[in-house]
Subunit: 424 residues, 2 copies
Amino acid sequence: MYSLMSSPSISSSSSSFLGQTHFDSRNPNACLPTKDSWICKCVATPSTETTAHTTKVSRNANMAKLQAGYLFPEIARRRSAHMLKYPDAQVISLGIGDTTEPIPEVITSGMAKKAHALSTLEGYSGYGAEQGEKVMFGSNVTMAVQDPSYPAYVDLSVILGQTGQFQKDVEKYGNIEYMKCNPENGFFPDLSTVSRTDIIFFCSPYNPTGNAATREQLTRLVQFAKDNGSILVYDSGYAMYISDDSPRSIFEIPGAKEVAIEVSSFSKYAGFTGVRLGWTVVPKELLYSDGFPVAKDFNRIECTTFNAASNISQASGLACLSPEGLEAMHKLVGFYKENTNIIMETFTSLGFSVYGGKNAPYVWVHFPGQSSWDVFSEILEKTHVVTTPGSGFGPAGDGFIRVCAFSHRGNVLEACKRFKRLYK
Amino acid sequence: MYSLMSSPSISSSSSSFLGQTHFDSRNPNACLPTKDSWICKCVATPSTETTAHTTKVSRNANMAKLQAGYLFPEIARRRSAHMLKYPDAQVISLGIGDTTEPIPEVITSGMAKKAHALSTLEGYSGYGAEQGEKVMFGSNVTMAVQDPSYPAYVDLSVILGQTGQFQKDVEKYGNIEYMKCNPENGFFPDLSTVSRTDIIFFCSPYNPTGNAATREQLTRLVQFAKDNGSILVYDSGYAMYISDDSPRSIFEIPGAKEVAIEVSSFSKYAGFTGVRLGWTVVPKELLYSDGFPVAKDFNRIECTTFNAASNISQASGLACLSPEGLEAMHKLVGFYKENTNIIMETFTSLGFSVYGGKNAPYVWVHFPGQSSWDVFSEILEKTHVVTTPGSGFGPAGDGFIRVCAFSHRGNVLEACKRFKRLYK
């Protein structure tokens, strides 16, 4: 809803808690939302009964292309249905990759300090440095994704009009290059079979398979992007989970600055999935075909549409970067990596082919010849554990489930006990 | 940069303080930014020397359409040049509408409480309710704006490819309906001369002129949108500044729910320009031409691309909505309205035609026959006060300057003293 972005005074909607305005013009607060009626209700479940009036504005055809139900809401629906069916079941969620452990105190006190400072003359600050995200490449670019990959990459491209229709038979959108990643190719695409695209989304360590690309593989990827004149959008959001010597950043690869943008965040390092703070590195060496610096357009869009992350979030980000903050983040990451090991060992001991885990908080379990959704449903039905069906990440993910290590230790141990009971 | 939005772990870039990653693969933090090199430098002033490699990705043609320098960065550049010229001048900024007074303590303690809670098991929360903004309407819609109006409305439409080229002679983009607002029409467009568009951006109280539309005018606007099958995007971000009985919300107008979306924020009510928290109301009654609810696509985009405002910002939003929070916001708004009156009285006493002010923190001063930028430059040169040239908001703004009331009282009084010296 770009009218939102286009207002200087708004950077983010918060309609999940801010209610409908009410309309008493004699009330000086009539412009303010009340807490008793929730816009999120109307947003989440809009009435479909037709009213007297329809506008003449046609719906964005790209929205109609999207397949029903974004993956995680769909899983949430099935989870709710399951809980209705088994009201007494102790359901454990190892599905959506949401962190569960508290944010280290050294980081939250940085937040709180900034919060208090904002009510002092000295500590108050208004608009921050302008910065942001959004629609830089436009709709005329082509894109490639790992298959399977995090669904939002594809859905965003669909919304931005970069893709064709969804082709039910192959479970793919037209005009997207799906780079198959499976055990046969070590979860790294065979680049000799990949067509040239403008943008290549690449995530490493890699959600959902948990695999991290090696230095040699990333060197080939950078060369591939360079040969094709492509821009690599590299998501390193799980880099702190790497145990071996896989690169933590695409910019460890010589020449990457001429072909790559890197995005990452504190979400999986410091439990910031709710605090919402990340960063983007756009090297000045990255140029469009006409020689214009990508960073310059990036900055222009930031200034125009976004206007910075919350100053409170930024203060907590600085706390993350303090020596104590870094140490606390490593401890937190270490805890989730122990969870990962427990899940890995469980499925390995049960004779499954298990992938990932080593460099990421995700375990990718193979169920050859079975449908991911069938496996998901059987596990939910028989163990009351929510996982994520691999096919939700792309056609090449079918036959796999993703088991997520973001959970309290007790839940992980209990879930693994149930897995052993089911598959022993 | 939609790769950013498309990552689940990132909702906002923070590159103004998060530095370039460094590339020592033996360092487990190599994936993390350091504080000694600043990406914002490279983003803000990208190198233009050509490097060995250019990608084959063509630049988004819509970006090239944008006119150089977004208004406020341009003003900042001129301000800096002025300070170089007069290093000892005490420069006062009444330009950009950034709040200056601290956030009420009752609100920041709500923030701090949430921050501390996040480091406890009970108080921790991860992903919030999914919600957001972005590119819902696509590039095939037509739009209308008030002329003058806040520049981001137009710039966003340009970036989204909804407009034609910039026409230097008339200072307008092609394919945008500019709804002229001037003293002759009481700063409300003559709708009989306005062509039908899909989207109508309308801000009231109205930045930059400070004018609030009356109930009768808004009733006509809603009817106009209904007759044309248009969607009204109504920005009520200054509604708390209204002193008379002008509507605080478009939804005070019968039938508005079938044609309007309303956006607003706490920025100008609680000094949240840096905290970044706003809301959007998308009525379930609002339907595309095919009868599909707009709210449903809005929600889908939110779930896919945005994933909520920072939980800290949301906690502070709840504090704003408490009785004490509302009272504190009214007090803060009252302070800025006193500033506004001081500025109004000053220019009135100097014989200028002065508009706005009554229902908004902006004073719109008329300098008939003069160029806004000339007036801006003369005021800066002779009084060291930064204002905003009206023509920066659209061609109909030429001959006006906007004087902003967001400043400490002492600065407002000093600036007005200087205005009197200049224009007595």
